[in-house]
């Protein structure tokens, strides 16, 4: 009697599922260490902050709709202006790109089953959440910061900002640097050590190069910010004198420290967007990127050169001419790697056969806005011109083209692009296109007239202006543009929310995508890949034989690692199989540790030093607990 072999695949999948299962329900979200669920938590939390920052922006635009408006008091305007910048940069763009997109996609793109340090990953998220909550406790208790997002001293010193608003700002940022640093370390180790065997560095998608560059930039940039914040709080809470000239301090010290962090931060904000663009373009134009190695190098070069240009934010503080000229030259040099990437995208689109679906539309919108923002950016390297336009609406126009146009547009395009992967459903295409046009037009109506107002002399951060200045018409147009823009964004999220429940099933690979994540199911299982995928080019999904080999391996039980909670580690450059790692599973310690740390910050702001010390001890205990090895589960 012939025995038909029972197909092995379903059995293996079941076994993997059991191994990678987490606690069900709400508790599962609290204790998860699954990079995809952490990515989703990051997504919704940073989306909430995007909404908050957006409301703040609309309030400001409403105040500026006409001359001498009184929607907001001067104090309220300054609070909205400071909180808007701080929220958008620290609590929306960076966590959305690095936390949500990076977390969800990086392990999938490199064929890993999780991030290198899953618990640290969860900890990064919980600290981010607590730090954001900390800032907004300040805002809602009437203690919002009001010295701008770059918080210059002495305006931010105790003498001129006596309330606790600045302390909420400084401590929440200090807190979130912990989250961002651990997140960056995690990304670096994940990319270097967890790539699927065979994915040598030259076979790594450009998306990963961008995130690698960002993570390195963060590790070197954040200490300057933390230092500045610690000095500020020592001065504000304990009476030190780092920035007070009468006691031998220097206010410019703050500016140097802040911008040593702050300019690399600009590239930290924009590089993930470049990474997203290099993912979306090949898929929709159906060809590989032009000049791949040059783009990879340019991504890294931008992050590196970004550290040498900070003083171009300070051309009006009275620098020596030689210093200013050096920083101007460095700022011009950084144009080159950006131009290389730009023309690589454009040439790829021109030489390919593009399908203009919603994600690609956002990327094209991004390219157009990035050229605008890039060109206005170049003009700041002309020192006399910079000293005319700095601190005017011209700068506001420039950095909104760069940060909103060039960094957020790809994030939105990415949301559409990976929506089918994350949810298993399709969004509404026509609706998506309409949202794009609404947002694109709204963006230009809001931000383009700011160039003109700035050249006409309107300073930024003025809570109002007089009718005699002749700024009324353009301000009205900008405010109407902002409302249009808000409607565009709202329609994006309504589309995605409705599609989440009613969209057509997407299947594994609705776009014929180029990278690995399209080979697994939508949404991906907890273990990502049943077989550690074979990789022989940066466009792994287009290597059909490799994917067929994965199928055969699954049936035969090769490279499935179904004996434990495991993922392979590979060598850093050539990605040869190094060892098999036992990955930690779900845990309650990350949120507990983040809570204990929040206690320290809360007690510091209340100046309850003894209670703060108690929370330091609790934090130490939580760190110890964090490192305990869980008992073997049956």
């Amino acid at each position: 009697m012939a025995v038909t072999a029972k197909p092995a695949t379903p059995v293996r999948l079941k076994r993997l599922e059991a191994i990678w299962k987490e606690t069900p329900g709400f508790l599962g979200w609290l204790t998860t260490t699954d990079h995809k669920r952490i990515g989703i938590l990051y997504f919704f939390t940073s989306l909430f902050f995007f909404g908050a920052g957006g409301v703040e922006a609309l309030l400001m635009r409403t105040q500026l709709i006409g001359p001498n408006e009184a929607t907001l008091s001067p104090q309220a305007f300054n609070e909205m202006m400071s909180t808007h910048g701080t929220t958008m940069i620290f609590f929306f763009v960076v966590p959305m790109s690095l936390g949500a997109f990076g977390n969800y996609l990086l392990p999938l793109m490199i064929g890993a089953r999780d991030m290198a340090f899953p618990r640290l990953n969860a900890l990064s998220y919980w600290i981010f959440l607590c730090a954001g909550a900390f800032l907004y406790v300040g805002v809602f208790s009437g203690n919002a910061p009001s010295a701008g997002w770059f918080n210059y001293v002495p305006l931010a010193s105790k003498a001129y900002s006596p309330g606790p608003g600045i302390d909420f700002y400084a401590l929440s940022l200090l807190f979130i640097t912990v989250s961002t640093t651990t997140g960056a370390v995690n990304v670096i180790v994940t990319i270097f050590k967890l790539r699927a065997p065979g994915m040598s560095l030259n076979r790594m998608p450009l998306f990963c190069f961008a995130f690698l560059a960002v993570s390195f930039a963060l590790i070197f940039a954040l200490p300057a910010l933390s230092t500045a914040l610690i000095l500020l709080e020592l001065e504000r809470l304990l009476g030190f004198h780092f920035f007070i000239p009468a006691s031998g301090g220097a206010p410019i010290l703050w500016q140097n420290l802040f911008w040593i962090f702050g300019h690399p931060e600009v590239y930290i904000i924009i590089l993930p967007a470049f990474g997203i663009a290099t993912s979306i373009i090949p898929t929709f134009v159906r060809r590989k990127m032009v000049a791949f190695p040059m783009v990879a190098l340019a991504e890294i070069l931008v992050a590196f050169l970004g550290f040498g240009v900070w003083a171009h934010h300070m051309f009006a503080v009275g620098l020596a001419s030689a210093t200013a000229i050096y920083f101007a030259a460095a700022s011009l040099v950084i144009v080159i790697p950006s131009a290389i990437q730009l023309f690589s995208w454009i040439t790829t689109i021109v030489t390919g056969t593009p399908r203009f679906k919603t994600p690609l539309l956002w990327i094209i919108g991004f390219i157009v806005l990035f050229i605008m923002g890039g060109l206005s950016g170049v003009t700041f390297a002309a020192i006399p011109f910079d000293q005319q336009t700095t601190d005017t609406y011209y700068v506001v126009a420039h950095f909104h083209y760069v940060i909103f146009g060039a960094a957020v547009f790809p994030l939105l395009g990415g949301m559409y692009y990976w929506f089918p992967k994350v949810t298993g459903r399709m969004y509404y295409e026509r609706w998506g296109k309409a949202s794009f046009w609404l947002t694109f037009v709204g963006t230009n109506i809001t931000f383009f007239p700011m160039h003109i107002l700035g050249l006409d002399g309107m300073p930024r951060r003025d809570y109002t202006y007089g009718p005699e200045m002749g700024w009324t018409g353009l301000n009205l147009i900008e405010t109407l543009g902002a409302y249009l823009l808000a409607m565009g964004l709202l329609s994006v999220f309504v589309n995605l929310a409705v599609s989440l429940f009613k969209g057509e099933p997407a299947g594994n690979d609705p776009w014929e995508g180029d990278t690995l994540e399209w080979s697994t199911t939508s949404p991906p299982p907890a273990y990502n890949y049943a077989v550690i995928p074979k990789v022989s080019s940066p466009y792994a999904m287009w290597d059909k034989e490799d994917r067929e080999e994965d199928e055969r391996n699954l049936e035969l039980g090769r490279k499935t690692l179904e004996q434990g909670h495991e993922t392979p580690a590979s060598t850093a450059v050539d990605a040869e199989w190094d060892e098999t790692l036992e990955m930690p599973s779900h845990s309650a310690w990350p949120p507990l540790l983040a809570l204990a740390m929040s206690g320290i910050f809360a007690m510091v702001i209340l100046q309850q030093w003894f209670a703060a010390a108690v929370f330091v001890v609790l934090t130490a205990l939580a760190i110890a607990g964090f490192h305990l090895k869980e008992p073997e589960e049956a």
Partner: protein, 290 residues
């Protein structure tokens, strides 16, 4: 700069349009589909052309133009004016003279003036868009810039660095005048305040000294020697009050001193809650300080 930027922008967008028109045809127009040609295109547009434009921009703006607009050597200028930023007004002194005023700077036309800026509190930025670049006023540091007006006239200036609640109401005016007129103005500035003559303004002077006004303001030649607020010795000769917020008329002056917080919320000057008659008298006194 604008023209070059326009060409670059339109050129890049034109390439995208070509991409849209040829969306069903792979490869480049004319050059066809050769990877080498594609890469060369990136090198040409991404490295070669930017390099030329950037070097040109650098030489013109950061070497040539910068030198032309740089702060002058103090010896080479006819005079030095020191401007000190305060929350939220500008204190103006003429070095080597006793002249002091606020929120307006008179300079002789077609004369290079060495303008030194300082700060009494936080960082402000001195900026007259039509005359020169902006320069920050930084506590503990003196910065300088050249102030030079080719044509006689009034030029508006304002604070450009966010400095707190009334950053929006921290403007000033530069009056570029024929030298003779400037000298007459300066001579008047050096004189002490004129004594009040009418009974009401005499009363006003008494109230000014009795109530809190004198503790913050200076009126040269009187016992008012406060240094917190602007010098009022020749207040009536100024065109505006409250840092270019209101025209300098008796009704505006009344409105301002009676309730400063309704005109400039957060301003350092408190409303003193005196009776209307007292304010009228003080206005009569101030309006006579030519």
């Amino acid at each position: 700069m604008l023209v070059v930027a326009g060409i670059v922008f339109l050129g890049a967008v034109a390439m995208l349009v070509v991409g849209w028109v040829r969306r069903d045809t792979p490869g480049l127009p004319i050059l066809g589909s050769s990877e080498k040609a594609n890469t060369m295109l990136v090198v040409l547009f991404g490295i070669a052309i930017p390099l030329v434009i950037l070097v040109a921009l650098f030489i013109v703006s950061d070497l040539v133009l910068l030198k032309e607009t740089d702060a002058p050597n103090a010896d080479s200028t006819a005079m030095t004016v020191t401007v000190t930023g305060h929350q939220w007004f500008w204190q103006v002194r003429y070095d080597g003279t006793g002249a002091e005023t606020a929120n307006e700077i008179h300079i002789p036309v077609r004369t290079s003036v060495n303008l030194v800026v300082r700060s009494a509190d936080v960082i402000h930025s001195f900026w007259v868009p039509e005359l020169n670049r902006k320069i920050d006023t930084i506590p503990g540091q003196a910065n300088a810039i050249e102030l030079y007006a080719e044509k006689a006239g009034v030029y508006r200036g304002q604070c450009a660095e966010f400095c707190g609640l009334q950053h929006a109401h921290m403007a000033f005016r530069v009056y570029a005048e024929p030298p003779a007129r400037f000298r007459a103005w300066l001579a008047n500035m050096e004189r002490p305040a004129v004594e009040p003559t009418s009974p009401e303004s005499k009363l006003g002077q008494r109230y000014f000294m009795e109530d809190a006004c004198a503790s913050c303001h200076t009126i040269a030649g009187t016992e008012a020697q406060g240094t917190v607020g602007p010098n009022l010795t020749h207040l009536a000769s100024r065109q505006t009050i409250a840092a270019d917020t209101l025209g300098n008329t008796p009704p505006n002056l009344f409105r301002w001193i009676r309730n400063p917080q309704s005109v400039k919320p957060g301003a350092k000057m408190p409303g003193l809650g005196l009776g209307a008659a007292r304010y009228h008298a003080i206005v009569a006194y101030l309006a006579g300080l030519r």
